[in-house]
């Protein structure tokens, strides 16, 4: 009789144990970024930030284990699409994250809609992306956010004749359009608009054209990773000494490459949402932990990855571990928190990011180059959507 009881108790315990094991399911996050190819630096930054977040916060949230499945898009949007599709169909991921450039984010949007899977954009910055699917949320930035603010800065500082130089793809067009509109509305003038090819650009001929127009400043947007080449060629032609100023969204003085840019970059003024030099206790801790784990500085792409993970964790807490697309995206809307870049939130209407934009100047601190913030614009929504 006793044996029977023990056996029954054992069975019961076993059943309970089994139940607990089943309750602790995994939530899979497909991270599709470029680990190789042209945008390799973006993938590297995001991956490092995601790893850091999970090291700090553990891999379990709301009773669910978080599993990251990393896939390399090799900076080719076709790959992003196929890999995302495989992640949805075979690995049954609940969330797709990453997307280094706009085309990659856009081409995956129909999949997110069809499969009802959240697509979390951690890098790409064209305004229109979040409108492509009701399941898209973004933790990076939009180019109009910084471009409009740097236009105001230019007007205030009497920089009225400006040449714009942007990479010839959607974010570049976004940056140019919003900058030009804001500048001309305030009485400034764009004397020449130059578009630079996206892949393997040689800036020299374009810089010559810009110099010939004799502007007071050049507005420049190049994607993360190309800024160093631009600044080098700018200095080589002696344009810094000719008194032409450089302004633009902060992509050009990317923290990842800034230390190698040399003194030509001193005094460049940009508007952006993150600088490794951002003065807050949280950012100090973040930069320290990040540089300790990797041998490079975190840049603005890294915070997109870090905050993306935070958004996933908090949304799962809010849904109590429910990971279907509808519950998750609903939980993400209106979420507010402090990020290493400052206070941010997800706009409940557009699912796009609302954040502070800082105006910064490149200065030397302890022998190292940094974007030092000197002016803050609070809670900037994406101007690309407000106008509609």
């Amino acid at each position: 009789m006793n044996y029977l009881k023990i056996a029954a108790a054992g069975l019961l315990a076993g059943a309970v144990g089994l139940g607990a094991a089943q309750a602790q399911e995994t939530v899979k996050v497909g991270l599709v970024v470029s680990m190789t190819g042209q945008q390799a630096s973006t993938g590297k930054q995001i991956k490092a930030a995601v790893d850091l977040y999970m090291k700090e916060h553990g891999d379990t949230v709301a009773g669910k284990k978080i599993e990251i499945i990393l896939r390399d898009s090799a900076s080719v949007p076709d790959n992003s699409k196929r890999l995302s599709q495989e992640l949805i169909v075979n690995d049954k991921v609940s969330i797709l994250a990453g997307f280094e450039v706009t085309p990659a984010a856009m081409v995956v949007a129909p999949l997110a809609t069809e499969a009802k899977v959240v697509e979390l954009v951690m890098a790409a910055g064209t305004s229109v992306i979040t409108e492509k699917s009701p399941y898209i949320a973004r933790t990076s930035f939009t180019l109009p956010q910084s471009s409009v603010i740097i236009a105001d800065y230019a007007l205030k500082n009497n920089l009225k004749n400006i040449v714009t130089m942007v990479s010839d793809y959607a974010p570049g067009a976004d940056a140019e359009k919003s900058f030009t509109a804001q500048l001309t509305a305030g009485g400034g003038k764009v004397i020449e608009s130059i578009k630079i090819p996206l892949a393997n650009p040689d800036f020299a001929p374009f810089l010559q054209r810009a110099a010939d127009a004799k502007p007071e400043a050049i507005f420049i947007f190049v994607p993360s990773g190309q800024g160093a080449t631009f600044m080098k060629q700018f200095a080589e032609r002696g344009l810094d000494k000719a008194g032409i100023k450089i302004i633009g969204p902060g992509d050009v003085t990317d923290d990842d490459l800034l230390p190698q840019m040399g003194d030509a970059v001193l005094g460049v003024v940009t508007a952006h949402m993150y600088s490794a030099d951002h003065q807050s206790a949280m950012n100090k801790k973040y930069v320290e932990a990040f540089t300790k784990a990797n041998n490079f500085r975190p840049n603005f792409m890294s915070v997109g990855g870090y905050d993306g993970m935070h958004l996933i964790y908090e949304a799962l807490k809010k849904t109590g571990g429910k990971a279907d697309g509808d519950s998750l995206i609903a939980a993400m809307k209106g979420m507010k928190w402090e990020s290493p870049r400052g206070p941010i939130s997800i706009d409940p209407e557009t699912r796009d990011i609302v954040q502070n934009i800082y105006i910064r100047k490149v200065e030397k601190k302890n022998g190292q180059l940094y974007n030092v913030e000197f002016q803050t614009f609070n809670d900037v929504k994406d101007p690309g959507k407000i106008k509609k």
Partner: protein
């Protein structure tokens, strides 16, 4: 007719018909390929890529392996096919994918025909540079005509209609895979017929010695123009398959990497026997897929290392492993036994 000439003629016709006959391994290859539809339903997306890459490599094999024209710009035709297919669907000009596929292939063929005159001039190195130049020019054109092609953002918002109005391109890639596989098979049959025809044989003659081929009355230039255009048609179809299965076309379809990768695929699989491109595509894609999952950051290094190893060891030694298999296949080939018996009987008659 003397008996010596008749025996030479018979041997020649025997060796020619041996080329045409289906080898059991070929039959097994295609049975396995079609069995994949049911065997591995979860891997259809990558197999779709293998199918169009195989077709693309087959098209390069037609000019490299048969006609001896080395090209580093074959992506030009792939890209034309991809953009034409994507544009036809986006602007709803031709909604039915199979018809659009054909039109895309013909468009690529037209480009191939026009550029063939450039490629025919000069020797290997010149051809390499000219083909590369054509692809770069087309890429830049696609970049410049952003209003039409979407420029560096790629052609977004393409919606593909169901194949033959019946089978829609599903999320799991099932229909897409079957579609690509059928197209590949049909075009392979055509290529096989072509390669074994007098036309195909004349190409091999040209490849071996253009001067001598001209001397025995083969119109060299005309033959090369024809095969170059046909290869462009094949490449265009491959590109269109990519565009149709992903509902997307980007500048990357014209990229130099794509042409260079394609040459790698063909080198891995071997040239001049039609299956080289297909086998190369399978090995290359699986290797890439496996390694990039294993180590997302450093996989290009391992691919490079494997390629170096392959070239150093030599393909002959790698394919040596399947010698017993081929032996077995030959034994299984009842037709060979029957032929041997017939030959013996013929010898006795004489």
């Amino acid at each position: 007719m003397s008996s010596a000439t008749s025996s030479i003629l018979r041997r020649a016709s025997d060796s020619l018909s041996a080329r045409v006959r289906w080898h059991p391994l070929e039959i097994i290859f295609w049975i396995v390929a079609f069995a994949m539809i049911w065997l591995m339903p979860t891997r259809h997306l990558i197999m779709t890529e293998i199918a169009w890459l195989g077709l693309f490599a087959l098209s390069l094999d037609l000019i490299v392996g048969y006609a001896g024209i080395i090209s580093l710009g074959h992506a030009a035709f792939f890209g034309v096919g991809a953009y034409v297919a994507a544009l036809l669907a986006k602007h709803e000009l031709i909604n039915e994918p199979v018809l659009a596929l054909l039109v895309a292939g013909l468009a690529a063929m037209a480009v191939g025909f026009v550029t063939s005159f450039l490629v025919l001039r000069g020797t290997d190195l010149t051809r390499l540079m000219v083909s590369l130049g054509v692809a770069l020019m087309l890429r830049e054109l696609a970049n410049q005509f952003g209003w039409l092609t979407g420029g560096a953002d790629g052609l977004q918002g393409v919606v593909m209609q169901p194949i033959l109005g019946l089978f829609r391109f599903d999320m799991f890639g099932h229909n897409g895979f079957v579609y690509c596989l059928v197209v590949l098979f049909v075009l392979f049959l055509v290529a096989r017929r072509l390669a074994n025809s007098p036309f195909g044989l004349s190409l091999v003659a040209i490849k071996n010695n253009p001067l001598r081929a001209a001397a025995i009355g083969i119109p060299v230039d005309q033959r090369l123009i024809v095969i170059y255009s046909i290869a462009a048609f094949y490449a265009g179809i491959a590109g269109a398959l990519l565009a149709q299965t992903t509902s997307f076309a980007s500048l990357d379809v014209f990229s130099f990497d794509r042409s260079a990768d394609l040459l790698l695929v063909l080198i891995i699989g071997g040239t001049g026997y039609l299956y080289g491109g297909l086998i190369g595509a399978i090995l290359f894609k699986l290797m890439q897929d496996y390694l990039s999952v294993l180590t997302p950051q450093y996989w290009p290094f391992w691919i490079g290392a494997l390629l170096v190893a392959m070239v150093l060891i030599g393909r002959d030694r790698i394919t040596a492993w399947n010698a017993p298999l081929r032996h077995l296949a030959a034994k299984l080939d009842w037709r060979a036994t029957r032929r041997a018996a017939a030959a013996a009987a013929a010898a006795e008659d004489r």
